[in-house]
């Protein structure tokens, strides 16, 4: 993992002092709310319905145990004993007082955490594959490049007042676990002809009011030119992105308006004018950052663990957990363990301070002090020995963290919605809870198989509903919460935007409608088809009939 040096630490101290100064000026009346708001947003501080919300950056979703313990402590001390993991691999505290924020930032800085650029019209926290450094299918470690981008984009003097927010995601694997094609810039690590490392660069993806899947702007960019090329894209966007309409200000609208060919031409022309020697990162610094992510000292272990096999044979619960939450690791004898924050009836993505402490302990003891956050609002212990799996499972089970439902129907993504968020039009969490209860039977959930249900409480789409197998969008229809269903989206390597199924439904009709969709799928699926595959084969009609015939 990347370790902060004195420079990184002094930077965080300066940042925290700056915000303390700004809060004091605001409270003294020297800054108006209009002037203060962009400043607090640059530190991830929103005013929500009940209190302030502080969004903590978790760069590329990577934490150590000390950081997780500190987050638990902040949750206990300054919040109501919990935190909420987001689809941006970040963590939000929902009950924060403005007067406490400078102290909280200081407490975070002590463990190399911050809230920089988790909001505002700047380059946001960079996200990446949560299995980085653990999965065998990786071309290169995306954390190296994410950290390079994190540093480069931190208080970037030219790109801190963009037309709108700007999100970058990186993956080194073929399986896309970071929703890369829904980002403003997506980076897929690729191998060049001589085996050298580069990127396929995609641009103009995004969700919100007008969803787009990103398009390829360059099929191969030598890795050493990453920063100059990203600078060229950002500069074209900063100059030409729309600033007259907040809903048309993201880069996706510029790319769509110009067309990918013309946008590419402008970026390549700008790139040609940039002095790459100054703009690109020197090789020595790249090597320094890469060294921080060097493979840890994995033990040499047999591929089969007798202790694990014996425990598994004796425990159906462990078998189910292994089937759904345990993924292959690149090193024999190790596994990747997903920790579901989607226990049936719980708020998706919420973790109590006590649960965070448990995860911190397990990460420290069993996962080389490495803990990850996924964009699906779950946690990952990326380096667990098979020998230790029974103990890890037992500890998770005791903490209510062993729900064996990764990527199943009850593993629902939901934004905080109108229970917390000032932008929301409808609640998302109670809908997710209803649906999860509908699919609470684990045998049925496994029979249904992979099904990604995602809920957003407004058109901003923090709940990724556009790229869900079944997407749900909450709207306010004449003062009542209504929910619009869409089918066939995907945020993975087979990315697509879902299609709206039909008229919106009232809250109590959503879970039964999802049940009807699933029953239809179970009737008509063939072979090993996932829900998404069946939808892609048969289209909307049979599903439409199932939901609306029943509703009439």
């Amino acid at each position: 993992m990347y370790r902060y040096d004195a420079i990184d630490r002094e930077f965080l101290t300066d940042r925290s002092n700056e915000f303390r100064h700004q809060v004091a000026r605001r409270l003294a009346g020297e800054l108006t709310e209009d002037q203060f708001k962009p400043l607090r947003l640059m530190n991830g501080l929103y005013l929500q319905l009940h209190a302030y919300m502080l969004r903590v950056a978790i760069p590329y979703g990577s934490l150590n145990s000390r950081q997780v313990r500190r987050l638990a402590w902040i949750g206990r001390t300054y919040d109501k004993g919990y935190g909420h993991f987001t689809t941006r691999q970040n963590l939000q505290f929902h009950w924060i007082k403005l007067k406490d924020v400078p102290d909280i930032l200081d407490a975070m800085a002590e463990v190399d955490l911050h809230a920089i650029q988790t909001s505002g019209n700047c380059i946001r926290n960079v996200t990446a594959d949560p299995y980085a450094g653990a999965t065998a299918e990786e071309i290169d470690d995306p954390r190296v490049w994410s950290e390079i981008l994190r540093q480069w984009s931190t208080l970037h003097p030219e790109f801190s007042f963009l037309p709108r927010k700007f999100k970058i995601a990186v993956t080194g694997a073929l399986t896309d676990r970071a929703a890369v094609k829904t980002h403003d810039i997506g980076l897929f690590l690729r191998k060049g002809r001589e085996g050298e490392i580069g990127f396929e660069v995609v641009v103009g993806g995004g969700q919100g009011r007008t969803p787009y899947i990103a398009q390829t702007i360059r099929s191969y960019l030598p890795s050493e030119h990453l920063l100059s090329y990203v600078e060229a894209i950002l500069r074209v966007y900063n100059r030409h992105g729309r600033r007259d309409n907040i809903y048309k200000a993201r880069i996706k609208i510029l790319v769509a308006a110009l067309g990918i060919e013309e946008f590419t031409r402008q970026v390549e022309e700008e790139w040609g004018k940039i002095n790459a020697e100054r703009a690109d990162l020197p090789a020595a610094e790249q090597a320094r950052i890469r060294a921080a992510f060097a493979q840890p000292n994995f033990e040499t272990l047999p591929a089969v663990s007798e202790a694990f096999e014996a425990a598994r044979a004796a425990s159906p619960a462990l078998q189910r957990f292994v089937r759904n939450n345990v993924k292959p690791h690149k090193v024999p004898g190790y596994t990747i363990v997903e920790v579901s924050l989607k226990a049936i009836g719980q708020t998706p993505g919420d973790a109590t301070a006590d649960q965070l402490d448990v995860v911190a302990d397990l990460g420290e003891r069993y996962s080389l002090d490495d803990i990850r956050v996924t964009h699906a609002q779950n946690l990952v212990l990326p380096h667990v020995k098979l020998d230790d799996l029974p103990a890890v499972h037992a500890a998770l089970e005791a903490a209510g963290l062993a729900t064996a439902n990764i990527d199943l129907a009850s593993d629902i993504i939901a934004c905080p919605g109108l229970d917390y968020c000032a932008l929301a039009n409808a609640r998302a969490i109670p809908i997710a809870q209803d649906i999860a209860k509908t699919f609470a039977d684990p045998d049925r959930a496994e029979k249904i198989g992979e099904l990604k249900i995602k809920i957003s409480g407004c058109i901003n789409a923090c709940g990724h509903h556009h790229v869900a197998h079944i997407g749900i969008l909450g709207v306010d229809k004449k003062g009542e919460e209504f929910y619009q269903l869409s089918l066939g989206g995907s945020g993975a390597e087979d990315a697509s935007i879902g299609k709206i199924l039909g008229p919106g439904l009232s809250a109590e009709k959503v879970a039964p409608a999802i049940d009807a969709l699933v029953e239809t799928y179970l009737h008509i699926r063939t072979g090993g088809e996932r829900f998404l595959d069946t939808y892609r084969r048969v289209g909307l009609e049979p599903f439409k009939e199932a939901v609306y015939a029943q509703a009439d």
């Binding site: 002037q35 984009s153 208080l155 970037h156 801190s160 002095n275």
Partner: protein
């Protein structure tokens, strides 16, 4: 008339600071009668009248709005004393790009002045992008401006200034 703050010293040096400066320039609107002395004009007026103005002995500056490209001035820059970059709202960040292009690509060595909605919160970004004169909109003093511009001991990326970047500090 807004007061003018100018940088003194090198951004990376110990003598870096800011001070009040006499503003010899008058911002002239497109329909205003031309006064005596040094003037800052819109791009349109400069393109119409600039050649004549440059030929008499006064100094000339041009004000660039965010939707105008500084490249339009490429051939005139050696004759210009000031390029004033406008911030209609402080959240409009196009002038940062314009400033960097003036300094790093077009080699402009005259004054790059921030005008419009100019707050001390932006000082650090502006100085790094090559601005060296400011008409603050928030009553900021040179002391506050200097402090705001140097709030951070370290920077993470190269820009138009001469500050040593984190990776250069590390390499020492």
């Amino acid at each position: 008339m807004p007061k003018l703050i100018k940088l003194i010293g090198d951004a990376s040096g110990p003598n870096f600071g800011a001070e009040w400066a006499e503003d010899g320039f008058v911002h002239v609107g497109d329909d205003d009668a031309l006064p005596e002395g040094d003037v800052i004009l819109s791009l349109a007026r400069f393109q119409a009248e600039g050649e004549i103005l440059l030929s008499n002995s006064r100094r000339v500056g041009v004000r660039i709005e965010p939707d105008q490209e500084v490249e339009a001035l490429a051939y005139d820059l050696p004759h210009l004393s000031v390029v004033a970059l406008s911030f209609p709202k402080y959240r409009d960040g196009r002038a940062y790009t314009s400033a960097r292009l003036l300094r790093e690509r077009l080699g402009f060595t005259g004054e790059v002045r921030a005008v419009g909605d100019v707050l001390q919160e932006q000082a650090g970004f502006m100085v790094r992008c090559g601005f060296d004169a400011f008409e603050p909109n928030d009553g900021a003093t040179p002391e506050a401006w200097t402090k705001a511009a140097h709030r951070f001991r370290h920077v993470y990326q190269r820009a138009a200034d001469s500050r040593r970047v984190a990776f250069e500090e590390r390499a020492v």
